[in-house]
């Protein structure tokens, strides 16, 4: 079974081809083009969607070429139907619909967040993990129970990705700013106390964001360091709470912020205390990519025939805990 997956929820337009054999999946190609907003600015949905339209055909053909397949070899096509930015989502959906109707390929709308989790499981071999999903769009702690991913903790306001990006932009980095902040933070070890806000299994980052902005005048490096230390400690603590509560024996980190080494280092230590195995999605597949969509579509294909073209929706705020998982 060979699948084609299309991702276009936010910055990234990506197509991937995966060959599935029983429980195994082999990524044959995963091509991406990433929209970069002007320095110091956030994403403009319409600009991003224009970027995606302009790049869609080249990404698609490169992806098929690298996988050494033609469109005739594709058994199913999947696209990210949400959550994400409306104009961006629609680009992926249009490409998928066009292929599906012209070449008569079954089509699967996929939840982007579930895609992160499923791809993480495929690539790390985690079986029954507590999942930390940290990206621009999500900050959630999840466990699978009774056919659904259940939320055990999440942010009450902005996400970890938004915290890093909004802070990074305020000191002149171009978004996504995670890597720049991580690098600058590693040059300091001076901790400036900042608001630490853990509410049970939930976190709140908005107070931390404004307090961090107010200390940058003294030293940007100290601000980056203190911001990371505080935010990641908050995340680690809530993960620890959820581990203790659910007694899961595996932790899996997925989403773009999973690439951060300091965060991983802290969570490894958390796992040690709880006798828990630590898994993190490999760097190359932590951020948004076609593979996450492609693989989830292939899993859905085990139990579903695909949807008719009239049902190829996009939903900007499609919650992953509203999705029933039957495969």
């Amino acid at each position: 079974m060979i699948g084609l997956g299309i991702e276009s929820t936010a910055h990234t337009f990506s197509c991937a081809v995966i060959k599935k054999n029983g429980k195994n999946g082999k990524i044959l190609s995963d091509i991406r083009k990433i929209y970069r907003p002007p320095e110091g600015e956030g994403i403009h949905p319409r600009e991003a969607s224009r970027h995606h339209i302009e790049n869609s055909s080249i990404v698609l053909s490169e992806c098929l070429q690298e996988a050494k397949v033609t469109i005739k070899d594709i058994d199913i096509v999947s696209y990210a139907a949400g959550p994400g930015l409306g104009p961006c989502l629609r680009v992926g959906a249009v490409v998928a619909r066009t292929l599906a109707s012209y070449y008569k390929i079954p089509i699967y709308p996929v939840n982007h967040a579930i895609g992160h989790i499923e791809l993480g499981k495929l690539l790390t071999g985690a079986k029954n993990p507590l999942v930390l999903l940290v990206s621009g769009g999500h900050t959630m702690i999840l466990a699978f129970l009774n056919k659904q991913w259940r939320v055990f903790g999440e942010t009450l306001d902005i996400t970890l990705g938004q915290l890093l990006d909004q802070f990074g932009r305020s000191i002149g980095f171009a978004s996504p700013c995670g890597v720049n902040i991580e690098n600058l933070a590693s040059t300091s070890s001076k901790y400036v106390p900042l608001p630490y806000s853990v509410k049970g299994n939930d976190v709140s980052f908005s107070g931390l964001l404004s307090a961090s902005k107010s200390i940058v005048l003294k030293s940007k490096a100290d601000a980056c360091y203190s911001l990371q230390e505080t935010a990641f400690a908050m995340i680690s603590e809530t993960v620890e709470r959820a581990l203790s509560f659910t007694e899961k024996k595996e932790l899996l980190i997925v989403g773009g912020v999973a690439a951060n080494k300091r965060l991983s280092e802290m969570l490894k230590d958390v796992c040690k205390r709880h006798g828990c195995k630590f898994f993190v999605t490999p760097l190359k597949f932590a951020g948004d990519c076609g593979s996450q969509i492609c693989w989830t579509g292939l899993l859905e294909n085990q139990i579903k025939k695909g949807v008719s073209l009239e049902d190829t929706f996009v939903t900007q705020s499609w919650r992953l805990d509203s999705v029933t998982v039957n495969y």
Partner: protein
């Protein structure tokens, strides 16, 4: 001393205090976080916990007696409640005890206390009584927003860990809560809970 639980933030041991069975709760250094931040948090929470656990007794919340506090070691020795966390009880039992949990939370809010960590592991059922434990994240406030965040927490836990009985437990919990705080307060807080859920939970990707 036997370790019985690696809790959310502390290690829990059973021990003896003047020949009575007791619980030793110790917040050990977490090496993963900055050591300034770590020692501040551990100290602050040990203080909060030992204060609130006794304070809420005065208005009728069953809690363990505090025997001994060592701030330097961020450790508390307290009475052992030899029952079971509500989390570990059968579904019918959890459903019927939800009303009592709601009442206890209502009583705390009415008296200006936010628990801060409302999970089904932090209520212990013993001899037909529900005890409340784990006050490390508690604080004093009567702000409706904070009370709503407190309720949202337990709702999140019911909706995840107890998903199959979410509807009944949440209904009973709210009924208990309302019976203590009164109808208008109840409606105010319930609306705020929905509003808070709308913020983080349904926020779109940016």
């Amino acid at each position: 001393m036997n370790i019985i639980k690696k809790g959310a933030e502390a290690d829990i041991y059973t021990t003896k205090w003047q020949n009575k069975r007791a619980i030793l709760k110790i917040r050990k250094t977490k090496h993963y976080r900055n050591q300034n931040l770590d020692s501040n948090l551990r100290k602050l929470r040990t203080i909060k916990e030992s204060q609130t656990i006794s304070e809420v007794k005065s208005f009728g919340i069953p809690t363990p007696l505090v025997y001994f506090v060592n701030l330097e070691k961020t450790m508390i020795i307290m009475q052992q409640i030899p029952g079971k966390p509500i989390h570990d009880l059968s579904n019918p039992k959890i459903i019927s005890l939800s009303k009592q949990m709601g009442k206890l939370v209502g009583l705390m809010h009415k008296n200006g206390i936010i628990h801060g960590d409302l999970t089904t592991s932090n209520f212990i059922y013993f001899q037909k009584k529900v005890y409340v434990i784990d006050f490390g994240l508690s604080h004093k406030t009567t702000k409706p927003e904070d009370q709503a965040v407190d309720l949202r927490l337990i709702k999140e836990i019911l909706n995840s860990a107890h998903a199959t009985i979410m509807k009944e437990t949440w209904k009973n919990f709210l009924a208990g809560y309302k019976s203590i705080v009164g109808n208008s307060k109840y409606l105010q807080i319930k609306n705020l809970v929905s509003e808070i859920e709308g913020r983080g939970r349904y926020a779109t990707v940016v």
